[in-house]
């Protein structure tokens, strides 16, 4: 190794596929990306498009009906981008791809970021009963405990039905084979 450790230079590529989004402030995000050589080959000379989506605020439903906020055709040789004028306190994700006809062929998605709120909580949110907790130990108001309900209608079903329904757990294969080794 003869590189001068006081005059280091940084690599121009790592040969990785990455599309990373960072929060700048409640109204802006920054994205940088690198496309692996294998990825670049598949793209040839296509015009790349970067799309920013606002996601459903419900965790676990990110993929459902994202709202397209902005779509930009990337100038050649860009490897980062800023989106401004965004709505605060929302979750965003970007996708990169190319378009053909009406279709968008997305080949990479970014991480999801949540930009912070730009203002205090609204009155409705404040109306909630404040919760308190000591610093040393975590506590939280215990959910009100309902007593076990016992007045249900008896349901007719056989053990076999039960066994049949079990295969649904975890959604995997071994459905029709009760005892396996």
């Amino acid at each position: 190794m003869t590189r001068d450790i006081d005059q280091m230079e940084l690599p121009r590529w790592y040969d990785e596929n990455t599309l990373t989004m960072l929060v700048v402030n409640p109204n802006s995000v920054f994205l940088y990306w690198e496309l692996a050589f294998g990825q670049t080959k598949t793209l040839q000379e296509r015009l790349l498009v970067l799309k920013l989506y606002e996601l459903s605020s419900e965790s676990g439903h990110e993929s459902e009906n994202p709202r397209l906020v902005q779509s930009v055709e990337l100038p050649p040789l860009t490897n980062d981008w800023y989106f401004h004028y965004l709505k605060p306190a929302c979750r965003y994700r970007a996708e990169m791809g190319w378009e053909n006809g009406h279709r968008f062929y997305s080949f990479i998605k970014s991480n999801i970021v949540e930009v912070p709120p730009a203002s205090p909580a609204t009155a409705t949110a404040t109306a909630l009963q404040p919760r308190w907790q000591p610093v040393e130990i975590t506590t939280a108001t215990k959910a009100t405990t309902a007593t076990t309900t016992t007045d249900e209608q008896p349901v007719k079903a056989t053990v076999q039905e039960l066994i049949d329904s079990m295969s649904f757990y975890m959604g995997i294969k071994k459905d029709d084979s009760p005892e396996r080794k």
């Binding site: 940084l10 990479i108 909580a121 909630l128 130990i137 506590t139 295969s167």
Partner: protein, 927 residues
């Protein structure tokens, strides 16, 4: 009773500017100037107040880089040389200005100041930490620390990265002060949600954010910034008071801008001839501050007038009184609507006092005296306030910082944004290296530790700060590149297994920072990175099936989890159904397995059978508690064991954690029969009664919350795990060659929600794109005929092979030969098969739905295709088949993600976290 509390917080930090390779480094002067003008004068003030028995409280944060430099021998020696030079210059100046009517008093003034600093420095044996420690012991100071290299946390990507910034800092503090700090100063007050969890892990009690970090939190804080709030993991948060800040910070309206105070921007280093002053400047000619400043700020548009120290001091007295008066008024006003004594948090950079605001230390001294003289405003430390008021309101703190604009833009903007790609890449690489090297010896160990140091040094918020502020940019860029570059160099040596000791040693001597650092803090396996001293939990797990009885995947899940928990030191007892040829008790891989006696389960009717099962579990658990002592917690898996779990929990006052693997509603896309409605009800009951509920994906977490109307903060998401060893069983030693022909594989039950019809429909387009392929469908189900018909009707029946049910070795063989595995589900709560394929090294294309969306990072370790979209599925499958280089990337990343996110070790650690949370919750409830 005072009307208010005032918490003054001084944050001392300098970047790591240690250049043993140069005889005179310009940047090391930052440390010398701060010592002469800030740190030593502040210590002088603190000691004087203590001598006079003034009852003051100040919180002082010392950064690990500063602590390291203050205690570095070479720097101590160089500082002494620097002081001697300053004294010589003062002597020279006395001669030069001796008789000057306007400036004659100033050289002697500086001579005294420098002598005072030098005496103090000698008194403490060159180590300013010693008097500070003493002051902390006496109760005047509360000393805390900040992140290892002042890394700006909102722009560090991973939790491992956060841990890397936090833990070594706490260790260094503990090494110097003998105990861990109570609180932490987040660099630049930079907070991002989740940081609090890491702080809680390490026992940190409090941190600070800027005002809007508190006022914009959810829900709105009851006391505003006049009392701390608390985040869910139990860390208190203090908010900066903007008025206190403005009065001290503001360039125009703030105290330091007063015309009587000393002008910072006139220095003899710039003003005098080089022939004269050059000897005291770097390289004899670089114009730089010497600290000899002879003017007062003076009025606008006026000639700078001579500095008059006595007048400036009088002004400092007046300003201290003013500050005191305003804080008191503010506290009185705030207190009117509060049922506790309001607290004002006033944090400042320590280097402001004495350096930029020369009279700052004096002002501070007068403020302490003024406050102690009255009773209405009292000084407090955050620890002291929390001691008086342990209860704080629980809120969620949003991302924020105290930088210009209030968020991340000071460190992330067009002049600095290029650094983050390199930083994040290094962060990820560091974790990967730490994961791969769990046991090491030198020189690898040294190399890993140095890589960790270089990564941390590259992360300093100072570099982007300087780049953006526009002064000494070249230095910041060079430092960043050197640290990031050295990291890359070390990482490469480790990856190639060619550690060059000579280079390593050279790098080590450049940055002998954090001598005790342990790179393992970067491991993604959180159990290893976390503090060791954890109580042993005795856990009772209820599950209707457990190996060797495996009907669905539940048995395997409970088994792998139990074994991993037992391996990590928990005592695990499982109660489950009887199974042929197994007694009522077995000890299996450290797990105590208890089985209900077969003659207790006699019913033919489903509900009766479930009741018998639950009664059996209840009776058995009571017997077990007589024999084995009480448990700390019950963990129930799915509704089948719900009644027993809830009853035991109530009867024995034990906290209850429930994992809901799938819901009846989700499985059936609604509730259509009485049985389904009944099961739904039991699921809801279990979810309601449990202290915490675990779901296997964010999608499932959400489903549980909405179906059973449970608050989101009661639900934890822990993915299912996969054991890579399982994927290789049955393959033998001669590994099967991946076939030359292109094989698409699907594994799963043949029901419409698995979406196999979408895949079959996509075959013609796939073949058009990549040529002949084979689709192997493993699994059975009611939908098979339909699928066969479909294949026939679109002319691909030749290409589709229905293999029926396959066992584990069969599955492994299939995966091993596959070109791509496709899981085109329409509904999928988790999707363990996708993990198994990833573990087997097969590139995957899955539906962008449910749990699958969590498992795959689109374009990084596989593709997510819109559910039901034949065209796009064909596109993605063809891409993976035809582009082997990209497929290899996916496989590499997927393997890594499996190891990081879906290892049982990791899942057991996360589950244990949930246990400890539930136990805390439970213990408070029962008090």
């Amino acid at each position: 009773m005072p009307a208010g509390y005032l918490a003054l917080v001084l944050h001392g930090h300098l970047p790591y500017v240690y250049h043993p390779e140069q005889s005179e480094a310009l940047e090391e002067r930052w440390l010398y100037e701060a010592l002469t003008e800030c740190y030593l004068p502040l210590i002088d003030v603190f000691q004087a107040l203590a001598r006079d028995r003034i009852n003051y409280r100040i919180t002082l944060s010392l950064s690990p880089t500063l602590i390291t430099m203050l205690t570095n021998e070479l720097l101590q020696q160089r500082y002494m040389e620097h002081l001697n030079k300053l004294l010589a210059l003062a002597g020279l100046e006395e001669k030069r200005l001796g008789g000057d009517a306007n400036y004659g008093h100033l050289p002697n003034f500086y001579m005294q100041k420098i002598t005072r600093a030098r005496n103090l420095y000698l008194e403490c044996g060159h180590n300013p930490l010693l008097p500070l420690k003493q002051l902390q012991r006496q109760g005047y100071l509360e000393i805390i620390t900040t992140c290892a290299t002042h890394g700006f946390l909102p722009l560090i990507r991973s939790r491992e990265g956060w841990r890397g910034q936090v833990k070594p800092a706490l260790d260094l503090y503990t090494r110097h002060f003998g105990h861990p700090p109570a609180g932490i100063w987040l660099p630049e007050c930079g907070f991002a949600p989740g940081v609090d969890e890491i702080l809680a892990e390490y026992g940190i009690k409090y941190f600070f954010v800027d005002q809007h970090g508190i006022t914009n939190s959810r829900p709105a804080p009851y006391y505003g910034i006049y009392a701390p709030v608390c985040t869910r993991p139990g860390v208190a948060v203090f908010g900066r008071d903007p008025e206190s800040s403005r009065q001290v910070w503001d360039r125009h309206a703030g105290y330091p801008g007063d015309p009587l105070y000393r002008e910072f921007y006139r220095d003899i280093g710039y003003d005098l001839n080089l022939d004269y002053v050059g000897h005291y400047l770097p390289d004899g000619h670089i114009r730089i501050d010497t600290g000899f400043k002879y003017h007062r700020i003076s009025g606008p548009d006026r000639q700078k007038e001579p500095y008059l120290p006595e007048h400036a001091l009088e002004r400092a007295v007046r300003d201290a009184k003013d500050f005191h008066h305003r804080r008191l008024e503010q506290a009185q006003k705030a207190g009117r609507s509060m049922d506790r004594i309001p607290m004002i948090t006033a944090p400042y950079d320590a280097e402001l006092f004495g350096h930029w605001w020369y009279e700052g230390p004096a002002w501070l001294e007068f403020l302490c005296r003024e406050t102690a003289a009255g009773n209405s405003l009292r000084m407090v430390t955050p620890g002291g306030y929390l001691h008086e008021y342990p209860q704080s309101q629980t809120v969620e703190i949003p991302m924020s910082s105290w930088g210009a604009g209030g968020y991340n833009q000071y460190w992330l903007n067009p002049s600095t944004d290029w650094i983050y790609w390199h930083l994040h890449r290094a962060e990820d690489r560091m974790s990967e290296l730490a994961d791969l090297h769990q046991v090491t010896e030198d020189p690898d160990k040294r190399c890993l530790n140095q890589a960790a140091r270089e990564l941390l040094l590259a992360q300093s918020s100072d570099w982007p700060f300087i780049m953006h502020s526009g002064t000494t940019v070249d230095y910041a860029v060079k430092r960043f590149k050197n640290h990031a570059g050295r990291f890359n160099m070390l990482a490469e040596m480790l990856e190639k297994n060619e550690v060059d000791v000579e280079t390593l040693t050279e790098i080590e001597t450049r940055s002998p920072f954090l001598p005790d650092i342990d790179y393992q803090v970067f491991r993604s396996d959180t159990a290893a990175a976390k503090p060791k001293q954890q109580p042993v939990y005795r856990v009772l797990i209820l599950s209707w099936e457990y190996p060797p009885k495996t009907v669905g995947g539940l048995a395997r899940h409970v088994h792998d989890l139990s074994v991993a928990l037992a391996e990590a030191g928990s005592q695990v007892h499982v109660i489950t159904c009887p199974v042929a040829k197994q007694g009522v008790y077995t000890l299996d891989k450290g797990v105590h397995v208890h089985r209900i006696h077969p003659n207790r389960l006699t019913a033919d009717n489903f509900m009766d059978w479930v009741e018998q099962l639950n009664n059996g579990m209840l009776d058995l658990s009571i017997k077990m508690m007589e024999v084995y002592d009480k448990f700390d917690l019950i963990h129930a898996h799915d509704w089948l064991v719900g009644t027993a779990a809830v009853t035991i929990s109530h009867r024995c006052k034990l906290p209850l954690v429930a994992t809901i693997h799938a819901t009846e509603h989700g499985r059936n896309r609604g509730l259509h029969t009485d049985l389904q409605r009944h099961i739904h009800q039991l699921e809801g009951e279990l979810a309601r009664q449990a202290d915490l509920v675990i779901g296997c994906s964010r999608y499932m977490g959400h489903e549980i919350a909405t179906l059973f109307d449970q608050p989101a903060d009661k639900i934890r998401v822990i993915p299912n795990g996969v054991d890579p060893d399982n994927i290789t069983t049955g393959l033998g030693t001669d590994s099967v060659e991946r076939q030359k022909r292109k094989v698409i594989v699907f594994l799963g039950r043949l029901v419409s929600e698995k979406g196999v019809h979408v895949l079959i429909s996509a075959l013609p387009a796939i073949m058009e794109a990549v040529g002949p392929v084979k689709l192997q469908v493993a699994g059975k189900g009611p939908y098979q005929q339909e699928l066969e018909k479909l294949a026939h009707s679109i002319g691909v029946s030749e290409q589709v092979e229905f293999l029926g049910f396959v066992d584990d070795p069969g599955r492994n063989k299939l995966l091993h030969q596959a070109t791509v595995a496709v899981f085109p589900s329409i509904y999928e709560p988790f999707g363990i098969v996708a993990l198994e394929a990833m573990a087997a090294g097969v590139p995957v294309v899955v539906s962008d739905t449910g749990g699958l969306s969590d498992v795959i990072e689109h374009g990084v370790d596989g593709y997510l295709s819109p559910p039901g979209d034949i065209h796009m599925l064909a596109h993605y499958v063809s891409e993976v088949i035809s582009n082997t280089e990209l497929a290899r990337h996916f496989v590499h990343r997927a393997r890594r993600n499996i190891m990081v996110k879906f290892s049982w070790k990791q899942i057991a650690a996360a589950t244990r976290e949930v246990y400890s949370e539930a136990i805390k919750k439970g213990s408070l409830f029962s008090e």
